[in-house]
Amino acid sequence: MVNRVIKNRNNIIPFLGLVVAVVFFQVTSGGRLISGRNSVVLLNEVFNVVIGASGVLFLMAQGDLDFSMGAIVGFSGTVAAIASNHIAGLALPVALITGFACGAVNGLVCAGFGIPSFITTLGMSFVLKGFMVMLLGSGSMGIPFELNEFDTTPIRFFTMLAVILICWAVFGYSRFGKQCSAVGSHPTVAKQSGINVFRTRFLGFAFSGLACGLVSFFSIIRGGTVSTSTGSGFEVNVLNAMMIGGMSITGGWNSKYRYVIIGSLLMAVVSDGLSLWGIDLMTQELIMGCIFIFAVAISFDRRSVAVIK
């Protein structure tokens, strides 16, 4: 029994952490955390991160990272805003297509030229931010007012549910999902077993970009404008959620979809709980940073790597 607990600590600790955080903040906030009004706040808190994490999971399972997520959200949002000022209905398709295209470029550069993902996506993030400034000047851009109608709690809730269901099924129970884990576990073996490693990696990046496109649409219709700060810091939140959820940074067969859910929820509960206490955003980031390091420290499987880098 004790052995099994130790063996499964990667799965148990984040879950326990979530339960503890919920109970702790529920009590200390006087029952306000899980209450009718606050659950909408929680949903909005979780929404972006859960979608972004669902997309990047396919990439992280392959052992790659995407640091351009925030920039893709900003850039897709900008392009979608411009398009929507001509025809309002174009906002969503343009946001998705732009996001997918940015991810596809990442994929081509990484998988095609063999450049490590963190270099490529970091570079990509500067490139996209540059384009954003070129398109927006230094100010911001409004979007048609009617798009704001889509920013309702039911739409958000069902969009999130759909994303969760689709990604859960595709990641855990489809060929593509299995191929992602195989590439993360051992690319050479995957290749020799007939998996198209290039295609798998390419699609992984594209998936991550597509998720960012979706996030960008909901970000701009919520604020009603897009500015150069749209999406900034998004990649850090997503990475945080994944790590806190128990995801291994090297990917492979240990990657599970539930890490996305647990991590996103835990992030949302902690930051919302801290807000309820009246703690400001900067201090919240400090606390999140500490939790992040602590989470990785206890969940990182040191047996799988010979030397810790």
């Binding site: 129970y173 299995k178 051992h186 050479t188 995957a190 020799q192 007939g194 067969w253």
Partner: protein
């Protein structure tokens, strides 16, 4: 206590999770002795040697070195007490030079003001290589440019550095050629003659009998026998290892070279690196053996057939006339490939047995586009059973399996994908007799079913014992093709190899 005993191991136990790797193992190694350690895969010999070398800790039991209690904290601590080891799998660090590898962890003696003096390091490394009798290796070459054999020799030089009283050699000879073996044997003999001891681990019973003065036999973590020179008889040793009677003859019993006339795969005028104008045909129901020295091009030939390497000129065709240019095409034409480097190319060690077996056949496990664990279980069950994979559950990680069991998984992978043409690169490298005979039996069975097997091997008895035809390669060219016969001897093959 007998003062002649240099190393004593008493009641050593070691568990991994729930599996007992060693239970109350005791053994005595005398000074001036080459002590053999033999057992099937998973019998615990690598674990025992790792404990002695300080890379693993025992759960209970004690060790004595020259009568004093011996508890090595790590490999460097063991080195300081003059115990060192050459490991079975790759033990060199890629990307740095031979010299840096030899002195890895001991660089301090070459530093001045925190900087390493490369010249001194090179001289010392050259001297170390010289002392071990290896003159062909340049100490300043990055280790990954060396062949597998040369890298092993570098490891041997490194192990000799601490002037060991006890040298552990774990299954090293399987990856060495004649030349390398002779170097190793010379070192072993000089250790024995100077009153030190060698713990020699090997699968090759004949080699063990030839080299060792005493032998300890392990089975499932228990010592089943401590034999001295006079008691070492192959049949008795095999029985102690396996725990059942094993027939001496585990190769094919027939001596007719027979296969169907239909050609299943052919290579035409292939040129790649050292390979020059290579052409051959393999028939349905044939076992084609490929032999030669390690870098004669036979391993590359296997990879070219499977589409991993693209030849500069020439092509590979299957019987329908389709050309093979990629792994994808090879799979579509039912070709399977088992790489020589089991851990590095054939298996995902951090994946489960189930995921490994299913990997090439993911499409077959799909139902309405979904892959369920339950369906995967039923899919692999017949193959896991057929190959007798030892496991507690198919979800067990491959990294915890023994060498023989790993090989069974990688064979099961291709059986499950219903490969008609199976390319096996060193199918029995580092595998004990029990599993070996299982694999040979399976190969014969596949041949009977009309499948084609291409066996690339560095072991001559296996080539002679199993192949319908043997192609011997030398310097990238076919030096001869020999048909199966009962009179074929190793010396004939060697003469074409060198």
């Amino acid at each position: 206590m007998d003062s002649n005993i240099i190393l004593e191991v008493r009641d050593i136990c070691k568990n991994f999770d729930s599996t007992k790797a060693l239970s109350e193992v005791s053994m005595q190694v005398k000074a001036g002795e080459i002590h053999g350690l033999i057992g099937e895969n998973g019998s615990g010999k690598s674990t025992l040697s790792a404990i002695i070398a300080g890379t693993k800790r025992n759960d209970s039991g004690t060790m004595f070195l020259r009568g004093r209690k011996y508890t090595p904290q790590n490999i460097l601590d063991a080195n300081r007490q003059h115990v060192s080891m050459v490991v079975q799998e790759e033990g060199t660090i890629k990307g740095i030079t031979v010299a840096a590898n030899i002195y890895a962890g001991k660089e301090k003696q070459f530093t001045r003001m925190g900087l390493i003096r490369t010249k001194k390091l090179r001289e010392a490394a050259a001297a170390a290589l010289e002392k071990t009798g290896i003159s062909s290796i340049d100490p300043m070459v990055p280790v990954n440019r060396l062949s597998f054999e040369d890298r092993k020799l570098v490891e041997i030089a490194r192990a000799m550095l601490c002037g060991p009283d006890v040298l552990i050699i774990d299954e090293t000879t399987t990856s060495l050629s004649e030349k390398g073996r002779n170097i190793l044997y010379r070192i072993m003999h000089s250790m024995r003659d100077s009153g030190k001891a060698v713990l020699f681990i090997s699968h090759d019973i004949d080699e063990l009998i030839e080299q060792c003065d005493a032998v300890t036999i392990l089975r499932d973590g228990n010592v089943t026998g401590n034999l001295d020179k006079t008691q070492m008889k192959p049949k008795a040793m095999k029985e102690l290892m396996v725990g059942r009677n094993i027939s001496n003859e585990f190769y094919r019993s027939d001596y007719d070279c027979r296969y169907e006339p239909e050609i299943s795969i052919a290579a035409r005028n292939i040129t790649y690196g050292g390979i020059k104008n290579l052409s051959f045909e393999v028939h349905k129901g044939e076992i084609l053996g490929f032999g030669g020295l390690t870098n004669c091009g036979m391993h590359e030939a296997g990879k070219i057939l499977y589409g991993i390497l693209r030849p500069d000129t020439g092509c590979v065709t299957v019987h329908s006339g389709t050309e093979i240019h990629s792994v994808h095409e090879a799979l579509q034409n039912h070709i399977g490939y088992i790489a020589k480097d089991r851990d590095g190319e054939a298996l995902m060690l951090s994946g489960s047995i189930l995921e490994n077996i299913c990997l090439p056949s993911l499409k077959k496990t799909e139902k309405y586009g979904f892959i369920l664990h339950r369906n995967q279980m039923t899919f692999i069950a017949p193959y896991a059973a057929k190959l007798h994979i030892k496991m507690t559950s198919p979800d067990e990680y491959c990294m915890y399996l023994s060498g023989g069991n790993k090989q069974k998984v990688s064979i099961a992978k291709w059986l499950a994908n219903e490969a008609d043409i199976l390319i096996m690169d060193c199918p029995t490298r580092g595998i004990d007799v029990g599993v070996k005979s299982d694999i040979y039996k399976l190969m014969t069975e596949l041949k009977e079913q009309g499948k084609t097997i291409i066996m690339i091997s560095e072991e001559l008895p296996e080539l002679i014992g199993m192949s319908d035809r043997i192609i011997i390669m030398k310097d990238g060219k076919i030096s001869t093709q020999i048909k199966r016969s009962s009179t074929l001897s190793e010396s004939v093959l060697i003469q074409y190899m060198i």
